[in-house]
């Protein structure tokens, strides 16, 4: 019936994943269901992209471990996978750059094989010129044409999946560049899982930047509170408390075998400025 009209969608989640927890994984499940029921999408893939070490977050352990744990966590998943590109970069990558990278990957795969798309042989697709995109960005202007990017192709859409805290962080001075936010919500789209305490609609309403793109921001209400965060997990591990059943068993074994997450590891990057703040510091007049 409606199946032919469903747009294929890939969800990308960036974050520390320090470590991955059941909460992260639940986020994917909730998002997929919401989008498939309410948004007429067919979610074909979820991507976990752990941040690189250059992010300089306090307590951030090596990307290689975080990537490996995430892989262990999604072993039993039929649709979520882990991508290590961002984690392997020496410098911290802005979120919109990571989106761009994955979007270009998606496109080249589309054009190469029929793996993700449903386009029949012989039909032409619009070629997205990655160079022209970056040229537009160099001039510091977000062209309106860029906004229509996703919808012109027959291939899958790519959206950023995040918690409400990321959306809230758009308001933190110096953390995000306006044009980057514009690109994320304008060219890609946001799927935001909220805890009931945060009024996402009010936040979007109050933002001149987000309001024009409100149709690209999908809010998924998490009716049942689940505040189990990686911070909580790390704290428990430091104190020798059990975190079993808060994260997949293989991840827990990995942590225990290597004794990750100690009081010492929590001091990593202590006193160091977070990469986005450092990077954008020069941009303020």
């Amino acid at each position: 019936m409606d199946c032919a009209k469903k747009t294929k969608l890939v969800l990308l989640s960036c974050g520390s994943y320090n470590p991955v927890t059941n909460m992260h994984l639940r986020m994917f499940e909730l998002a997929r269901e919401h989008l498939q029921i309410k948004g007429h999408y067919e979610v074909v893939k979820g991507i976990i992209s752990p941040v690189g070490d250059g992010y300089n977050e306090k307590g951030l352990i090596e990307a290689s471990h975080r990537v490996e744990m995430a892989k262990l966590a999604v072993e039993s998943s039929s649709w979520i996978e882990v991508d290590s590109w961002e984690g392997r970069q020496a410098d911290w990558q802005e979120t919109n750059k990571v989106l761009r990278h994955h979007w270009e990957e998606l496109l080249s795969r589309e054009q190469g094989t029929d793996v993700v798309g449903t386009v029949k042989a012989g039909r032409k697709r619009k070629r997205i010129d990655a160079v022209s995109i970056s040229n537009k960005r160099k001039h510091g202007k977000m062209e309106v044409a860029h906004k229509g990017l996703m919808h012109k192709t027959d291939g899958p859409h790519l959206m950023l999946l995040c918690g409400a805290d990321v959306l809230e962080s758009f308001g933190v001075p110096g953390l995000w560049k306006n044009e980057d936010i514009e690109e994320i919500v304008g060219s890609y789209g946001l799927v935001c899982i909220t805890r009931s305490s945060f009024d996402v609609d009010a936040f979007i309403q109050g933002s001149d930047l987000l309001w024009p793109h409100r149709h690209n921001i999908h809010v998924v209400r998490e009716w049942v509170a689940n505040d189990v965060s990686a911070t909580h997990v790390r704290r428990a591990l430091r104190r020798g408390h059990s975190v079993r059943y808060l994260l997949p068993d293989p991840v827990l074994s990995y942590i225990q075998e290597r004794r990750l997450y100690t009081a010492e590891s929590e001091q990593t990057n202590a006193g160091v400025v977070l990469a986005p703040l450092q990077k954008h510091a020069g941009n303020h007049g």
Binding site: N22, E29, V224, S229, L246
Partner: protein, 261 residues
């Protein structure tokens, strides 16, 4: 003076067992170790029998099987089906008495408890058995006709409670407001779970009825079992719909169904 060997017993519907249930054991064990007085040597999940009459209760054989799948790799928590096999609903203290007797070796098959880390032999202290529960459990003492006064006395006096709750003060208040509980407050251990994690069996059944994902809320093996046996549908939730909860029927209370969600 050596640590007291301690076994934690959790009674409940386990309909189905969830990660949240298993977390209770983990939190309780950490807490009791931390007091310096106890050595937790085992945990027991005791699913209630079908005659409890709770709405939407799946057959005991399934609930027991799922609990076993979930605790397969646990190493210290096991499932006991004695309570579920009794012909009628068993009062909590009766179940506790049964398990304490087993523990003290006064009945055969004490070895069934399978406690690989047991230090029963090494300790000079006799082992204790305490009831593991959530904060909601303490409030049930106030429901008219649900508990016999002498049972509450035996439960908190002779056995003791390990009660896991959120960072709110619900459990503290319940102890304060009951003279019996207050008198035995030294035998009621309140464990805080500071992060909210409200993914209960009720929520999970709701999600399953609606065909929504419950992955990462309970073990994959349990989810597979639920699917295979088609448990937890809209129909199954109608089971016992108009029945009186068994404890209320037994204690001779007015036969209005307990409005429990």
């Amino acid at each position: 003076m050596g640590r007291i060997p301690l076994v934690l017993l959790a009674c409940g519907s386990f309909n189905p067992i969830t990660n949240q249930h298993m977390r209770l054991f983990e939190l309780a064990r950490d807490h009791m170790h931390h007091t310096g007085r106890f050595q937790v040597v085992g945990g027991i999940v005791s699913p209630v029998s079908d005659s409890y009459g709770k709405r939407g209760l799946a057959p005991a054989q399934h609930r027991v099987a799922m609990a076993r799948l979930a605790l397969h790799g646990s190493g210290w928590v096991t499932v006991d089906d004695w309570e579920s096999r009794q012909p009628d609903w068993t009062e909590t203290v009766v179940t506790l008495r049964h398990h304490l007797q087993k523990l003290l070796g006064q009945q055969p098959s004490a070895a069934d408890l399978q406690m690989p880390h047991s230090s029963l032999e090494g300790s000079s202290e006799p082992p204790q058995l305490k009831l593991l529960c959530g904060a909601d459990f303490l409030d049930t003492f106030r429901v008219p006709g649900l508990w016999r006064a002498e049972h509450v006395e035996e439960l908190v006096g002779r056995f003791g409670l390990v009660c896991v709750s959120r960072g709110d003060l619900q459990a503290d208040r319940a102890v304060h407001e009951s003279d019996t509980l207050f008198r035995h407050r030294h035998n009621i251990f309140l464990v805080r779970e500071w992060v909210r994690n409200e993914t209960s069996a009720t929520e999970i059944r709701r999600a399953l009825r609606r065909g929504l994902s419950v992955k990462y809320l309970l073990p994959d093996a349990v989810i597979d079992y639920v699917r295979e046996h088609q448990l937890y549908t809209w129909q199954s939730e109608q089971r016992n719909k108009d029945a009186v909860l068994r404890p209320l029927g037994q204690q001779g209370a007015p036969s209005e169904p307990l409005n429990d969600s």
